[in-house]
Amino acid sequence: MAEQQVDAVVIGAGPGGYHAAIRLAQLGKRVVCVDRDAVGGVCLNWGCIPTKALLHVSEVARHARHAAEIGLEIPQVNVKVEGVRKFTTDVVTSNVKGVETLFKGNNVQWAIGEGSFVDKSTVKVTKKDGSSETYKAKDVIIATGAAPVDVKAWPRDGKLIINSDDAVRLPSVPKRLLVIGGGVIGLEFATVYNRMGSEVLVVEMMPNLLTGTDLEIAKTMARVLKKQKIEIMVNTKVETLEKGAKTVKATITGEGTANKPETREFDQVLVAVGRRPMSDGLNLESAGLKTDEKGFLNVDAQRRTAVAGIWAIGDITGGPLLAHKAMKEGVVAAEAIAGLPGVAYDPVAVPNCVYTDPEIATVGLSEEEAKAAGHELRIGKFPLLASGRARTMNESDGLIKLIGDKKTDVLLGMHIIAPQAESLIGEGVIALEMGATIDDIGLSIHPHPTLTESIHDAAEAAHGTAIHIINPKPTAAAAAR
């Protein structure tokens, strides 16, 4: 059994892990990065990247279907499952290759196999063929991420009952799809399959979609999705799933069924009820480490765990389970290991994107959170209906909402429903990190004609001085400024 001494081992080659490994190598450390599959983790292989490829495909399909509205004749849109799958696979492969190239270029060693602790500074990697190798290192970073939560009563079979890992490989386009869970993952797949031609029902237990999101945003989105013929039931539960040969009968009850149990038949059921931290097989006890009752590892601002020399980053540390958070944590941990001064994970806010149609992107506080925190609010809103640029794109659904503190005008949150909201939100992130006021945004020139202009409009609306909408009390508000 080979044993090798290195400076650092990173367990997990997802976005957090590969960021940590590459930064460690850049800082002159000998580093080995371990993953049971390919590099890239959930993000590249199963999550962010392939879903976005699917979303792109389905978006093109939607545009094609609506082409007649803008004077283009496209006779028919047919989805070729094999072709779509090839496209997503190619996208994934080239992204994975990209990370592999970065590993090579930075001299990051990688090992494919199951990583587990022998002791706090020894990691054993067991390969598929049963052979193993061990690595000794002063520092070990745990970056093993999270996995979909399975519901015991409805075990995943990959055919009738599927989770996000299956859905992203698009086995087929079901005629009728039931999505259990109106969170980010549920809504993204609802959007994909709806645009590919499925009839989609989303069932959510909570009173609103996207729990925790600004209520007005969540409700606005629900309306938009319904307009797209996605059926949505909130305050509603799936009681039972009964598998037949080719279909599943679901009994549903709640607000969506007028509180009477209703049984409906689906060709496929996607269970998207959440994700859980993944430390299975890591053998944390040998390292003297324990997760909390929810399975997360507690870490400090530099991402140290309770055991000296062991660090943890990404989904396993809790907080929002997002790739970009993990990436930042990976860099922070790597730099802390290298002894760089002043390193810390201390974002003001972590942006969050939902790839529905149109997309949602938010950063900072929701209206409800800001109120609960005791703020007197200054809110500026701008409907996309009034955006010239949106009109040129044949889009009208969307809302920009800025939330600030009335006394100081300091921005507290930015919430966007708009095409490319995920790109627009960058402005909000910088504004929050810099401690910008709403006025700072309103006083900055935004390019025309763009969607970012609408952020500018919303900022002006907050002060009652927006040009492109009728302000409630223009004179009083303008005077107050």
């Binding site: 003001v348 929701s366 810099m434």
Partner: protein, 444 residues
């Protein structure tokens, strides 16, 4: 329901506290009023009592960490309760409103999965502390604004502050809306360090020489406070000095006569109560020595109280408890109070009330030795009296050399308010009263 306990304002105008020691550890039960943490402020060290019975489910600061008043310090409740939820719903209600978490050391992130960032709050803070404006031509007054319990500062400034070891919660921001700029951090560092003393500058840059067998100790607790406050006083006050000699023969005899009577009442009678008595009488005659300068408002505060601070040497360093209303106390009463405060100081049991509102300080090195010292003024007071050993010395009386019980008194005074002639007159008056202690009966 888990409840967040915030850093208390342990003494008036105290803005921060250092966690010296967790008396109770996470998970331990506490009874109501049972001390659970030892906090040191620049004025006093206090064992903080638990607000009610329960379990200390979370401590939010490491020992040695300094938190602003109002920052969450600990969470009480029952085991298993949701700490994050309690912190999320925490709204600082402390008077100063310095409020709000200065991002607890660890863990910095809510442990629960979710997609929403923690709640944000902006707590504007009255600019009661910043004393100097950054020099680089900005128009806004430095202020402390917080959002999400954190100061407003750009990521690069936060990084810079961490590199410099600066807690941004203590820094006033001169940028728009109170945003903290890089220059504010520099200003804070130089304020704290005391402008570019070469050795200190070297220490700050890490260049201070260390021998291989030198012992390194953390600069913390009372020592850290003294190390901050002494140079601050030297920078602020225009220190000037006056030393005079005094013939204490009569007082020595008086004390000898009174000592047994005091003893009968259980009081150990030293010279200090007489000196306090004389100091109060002299202060009444020269009110500007019993005064303060308020730089912020450009006012002179002439005190109507005579609260005499007495420097006490403890194993942790010098501390200065206050004898309140010294003008209304008898010699015996003063002696009792001196003893009580000295014992409390040495046992680390001074209360916040014991250390506030001093108007004039007496520093007594009489029992230690030396000819005389020139003590540092105890801000915001404007003068401090140095008291020294009484020794028989040869002096000339009516043409003959005789042995008398002699001592020296020194007065360090702030020339911004106290001019030289006033200082000399004040000290002469004090000595006149002590040389003929009968006057103490009719003085004042």
């Amino acid at each position: 329901m888990a409840e967040v306990y915030e850093m208390p304002e342990l003494a008036e105008s105290v803005v921060e506290g250092e966690v010296l020691r967790w008396i109770k550890k996470e998970g331990e039960r506490v009874e109501r009023d049972e001390p659970f943490v030892e906090i040191m402020t620049e004025k006093v060290t206090v064992e903080v009592p638990a607000p009610h019975a329960g379990t200390l489910i979370k401590t939010l600061a490491a020992e040695g960490q300094v938190l602003p008043v109002g920052a969450p310090l600990a969470v009480f409740g029952e085991p298993g309760e949701d700490v994050e939820a309690a912190l999320k719903s925490f709204v600082p209600h402390h008077g100063h409103g310095h409020g709000a978490p200065a991002a607890p050391a660890a863990p910095a992130e809510p442990a629960a999965p979710g997609l929403t960032p923690p709640p944000v709050q902006a707590v504007p803070v009255p600019p009661n502390v910043p004393t100097s404006l950054p020099s680089n031509g900005t128009t806004s007054t430095p202020q402390r604004v917080q959002r999400e319990g954190r100061p407003l500062a750009a990521p690069a400034v936060r990084q810079y502050a961490r590199e410099k070891g600066v807690d941004l919660a203590l820094v006033a921001g001169s940028g728009p809306s109170g945003r903290i700029r890089r220059t504010d951090v520099d200003q804070f560092v130089s304020d704290r360090r005391g402008e570019a003393h070469p050795a200190e500058a070297a220490a700050a840059s890490g260049a201070l020489w260390r021998g291989p067998s030198d012992r390194l100790e953390p600069l913390k607790g009372l020592r850290r406070v003294i190390a901050q406050r002494m140079p601050q006083s030297k920078r602020t006050a225009a220190h000037t000095y006056n030393v005079d000699e005094a013939d204490m023969t009569a007082l020595v005899e008086l004390r000898k006569r009174l000592k047994p009577m005091a003893q009968e009442q259980g009081v150990k009678l030293t010279y200090l109560p007489f000196i306090i008595k004389a100091a109060v009488a002299a202060l009444k005659k020269f009110p500007y020595v019993n005064a303060s300068i308020d730089d912020a408002t450009h006012e002179i505060i002439v005190r109507s109280d005579y609260n005499i601070s007495v420097a006490v040497d403890t194993e942790h360093g010098l501390t200065v408890p206050v004898i309140h209303n010294a003008d209304a106390r008898s010699v015996l009463d003063l002696a009792r109070e001196v003893t009580r405060l000295a014992e409390a100081a040495r046992a680390n049991r001074l209360t916040p009330a014991d250390v506030q509102h001093g108007t004039f300080t007496i520093s007594n090195s009489g029992s230690v030795g030396g000819l005389f010292t020139l003590p540092v003024i105890n801000l915001p007071e404007v003068a401090i009296l140095g008291v020294h050993p009484i020794k028989q010395r040869a002096v000339v009386r009516e043409g003959a050399v005789v042995a008398r019980e002699m001592t020296y008194f020194s007065l360090s005074y702030d020339h911004r308010l106290v001019d030289g002639a006033l200082a000399v007159r004040f000290l002469s008056e004090l000595i006149r009263l002590l040389e003929t202690p009968d006057f103490l009966l009719i003085a004042g």
